[in-house]
């Protein structure tokens, strides 16, 4: 309430100053000529050149951005089979947008400069030109239709999940604010589950149906391990609010909706170890670590603990606002060889053994 009151006071002070400035203005006598509100040639000329100046300004800013931030690691190093398709779409769209933006901004500002107001200059009455209008309608239609058709084809190939190639079935379970993964176990079949069956006392945290034979060998983990090269079919579930399973390195995202099961399938192609050794990833990690070392120095000087070294890992993130700790809702993904995966799976407990 005090905040509201102090803001009100500030507003009133502002109004008072504004009124005083107005009164001051009224007391000043005006010389009619120089104070005229009608723009003359000189004013129009200044504005015309300012237009050109602004055009140069945005071009310089664009070039600077390309030089300073112009590499797009997230557009070239996808780690899934369908990833390059999405990256392609992104790159084509960027090139088209960038080209159109450069040309139209030039035309807009140049015409504003060229046809600025001048005494005696008369506007040309130009009703219409069908040919010109046809051209600038048809070209965007073709370009946009091309983009949309390519997008549709990419979309259908990505979303068309088949169970014929024996995918590994994994459930991603979202809750405020963490993820759990559930593997189908020996039979690769997930048991039935519903939030109404959750029994915290018996450690049945995902609400599995304890009487369902398929559920007995399910494996629940807090880390997502995927064998490289094997198709994965994710079944998503949420227990409280909307979440979104976002795996940026695999170009994958799907909403997790309470009350229904959504799905997404992809095939990881690069193991975590291989990804860490790509030159661009080495660069990126080194860059992050240099920043961390700098920051650690300041922290240590203050008597606090320094930051840990950063190491690259694939991540599953939440991409839909879901509450206070949404920003930190993540799970580590590890892509590894089939042998490593099998060895890790050996160490995990089946559902029936994990109950209290």
């Amino acid at each position: 309430m005090t905040a509201l009151l102090s803001i009100l006071v500030l507003v009133f002070i502002f109004v008072a100053i504004w009124q005083m400035v107005k009164i001051f203005d009224l007391t000043q006598s005006k010389t009619a000529e120089s104070n005229s509100q009608v723009a003359n040639d000189q004013d129009n000329k200044i504005n015309g050149y300012l237009m050109l100046g602004f055009l140069i300004f945005i071009y310089v800013i664009t070039i600077m951005c390309f030089v300073m931030f112009g590499d797009f690691p997230l557009m070239s190093n996808s780690a899934s089979e369908h990833g390059p398709g999405i990256d392609n779409l992104m790159i084509i769209s960027m090139i088209v947008i960038f080209f159109v933006q450069t040309v139209t901004q030039f035309l807009l500002h140049y015409f504003a400069f060229k046809y600025r107001g001048e005494k005696g200059k008369k506007a040309l009455f130009y009703a219409d030109n069908n040919k010109l209008e046809a051209i600038w309608t048809i070209i965007p239609v073709i370009v946009l239709a091309g983009l949309i058709i390519q997008g549709l084809f990419t979309w259908t190939t990505i979303m068309n999940v088949s169970t014929e190639n024996d995918p590994l079935v994994i459930e991603l379970y979202a809750q405020q604010f963490n993820w759990k993964a559930r593997y189908g176990g020996e039979d690769n079949t997930l048991g039935k589950a519903n939030v109404r069956l959750i029994d915290i006392d018996r450690a049945n945290i995902l609400g599995l149906d304890e009487s369902d034979p398929n559920a007995q060998d399910d494996v629940i983990t807090a880390e997502l391990h995927l064998p490289v090269g094997r198709p994965v079919l994710f079944k998503m579930r949420s227990q409280d609010v909307l979440h979104s399973a976002y795996m940026p390195h695999f170009r994958a995202q799907m909403n997790c909706v309470p009350g229904m099961i959504t799905q997404f399938g992809f095939t990881p192609t690069v193991t975590t170890v291989d990804m860490r050794e790509t030159p661009e990833m080495i660069d990126k990690v080194q860059n992050i670590n240099e920043i961390r070392i700098e920051k650690s120095k300041a922290l240590v000087a203050k008597g606090e603990e320094g930051l840990e070294r950063y190491e690259f890992d694939y991540l599953l993130l939440c991409n839909k606002i879901c509450g206070k700790s949404h920003y930190n809702m993540q799970m580590k993904i590890i892509v590894e060889t089939q042998e490593e995966y099998d060895a890790w799976m050996e160490t995990q407990k089946a559902f029936k053994d994990s109950l209290n």
């Binding site: 227990q239 409280d240 606002i321």
Partner: protein
């Protein structure tokens, strides 16, 4: 006698009866004054919205660093000057709401449609000056409720400007989904009523009050743009109103339009059979048309 009639006919509107300060500046039915009222209110809301986005950017640029500005403006939401995670989401939410609805939709459309439609089609005023006044004052009330919602105990709405349930429907999911969200919904319901009255007025004016010889095909492109945006508004805002009403029912009267199978903070809730996707669909209708609305708004400045 005839000269007297002549003089009277040439007389501009607005001079026939005496106007008091209240009827001229506050409860005005004159389209130019209402346009100015929209401009001032929309600008103030715009300043608030931009300040919020500045605070968001400051938090991103210096994450979790103390800042006197946060301390001054956010009060208890910035203990020792460090921005709280909840208030960051609230800033995102309210900034989006203000910019999309109060600035782009009402501020721009209310100002320029009211000012230019009668002037450019040769009408004396809008079709109904009274409804026009009601439209502005409903907009004003909804702005006041939205601004007041910043000051409630558990914080303003923080579920994103799309207010997807269940996050926006369950007070236990987030502090902002309590009284803050109730005020957000009340403000939006009033805003939609205001926007509908305004749009209907624009449409009727353009169709009925064009001056002699001003056929639809001769309308300036600006007016065509206002006309089309008004139609889009009339089609899409009732959809948002229905979504908001259903959400109010879910929140306050225990219905399950958008909620099903929810386990939160150790309890299973009674909601069964609803679907959050229904809300997403309803909201998408509005979202698409608001983007159209904004595109046409931008394009018309080039005409």
């Amino acid at each position: 006698m005839s000269a007297h009639v002549e003089a009277h006919a040439n007389d501009d509107h607005g001079h026939h009866h005496k106007e008091t300060f209240v009827t001229k500046y506050i409860f005005s039915q004159d389209h130019k004054m209402i346009a100015k009222q929209y401009l001032v209110t929309g600008t103030i809301m715009g300043v608030i919205g931009v300040m919020m986005s500045l605070m968001m950017r400051m938090q991103i640029a210096w994450p979790e660093q103390p800042n006197v500005i946060f301390q001054a403006l956010l009060g208890k939401w910035a203990p020792e000057g460090v921005m709280d995670a909840d208030i960051y989401l609230a800033l995102v939410t309210i900034h989006g709401t203000i910019m999309v609805f109060f600035v782009l939709t009402a501020g721009l459309s209310g100002t320029f449609s009211n000012l230019l439609i009668p002037l450019q089609i040769g009408a004396r005023d809008m079709a109904s000056g009274f409804l026009n006044m009601v439209s502005y004052w409903l907009f004003f009330i909804s702005s006041v409720i939205m601004v007041l919602s910043f000051f409630v105990e558990a914080g303003p709405a923080a579920a994103g400007w799309t207010i997807y349930p269940p996050l926006s429907a369950l007070p236990m999911a987030q502090g902002g989904s309590g009284a803050g969200m109730t005020m957000w919904l009340a403000s939006m319901a009033i805003f939609i009523a205001s926007s509908l009255l305004g749009s209907l007025n624009y449409i009727v004016t353009v169709i009925n009050l064009r001056t002699k010889g001003m056929s639809m095909t001769r309308l300036p492109l600006t007016i065509w743009a206002f006309f089309v945006t008004a139609i889009i508004g009339v089609i899409s805002f009732p959809v948002l109103l229905s979504a908001a009403l259903l959400l109010i029912m879910d929140r306050s009267f225990g219905t399950s339009f958008f909620l099903s199978d929810i386990f939160i903070q150790g309890d299973v809730l009674h909601y069964q059979g609803g679907s959050p996707v229904l809300f997403e669909h309803l909201f998408t209708v509005l979202r698409t048309s608001v983007s159209l609305y904004c595109i046409i708004t931008c394009i018309r400045y080039y005409f």
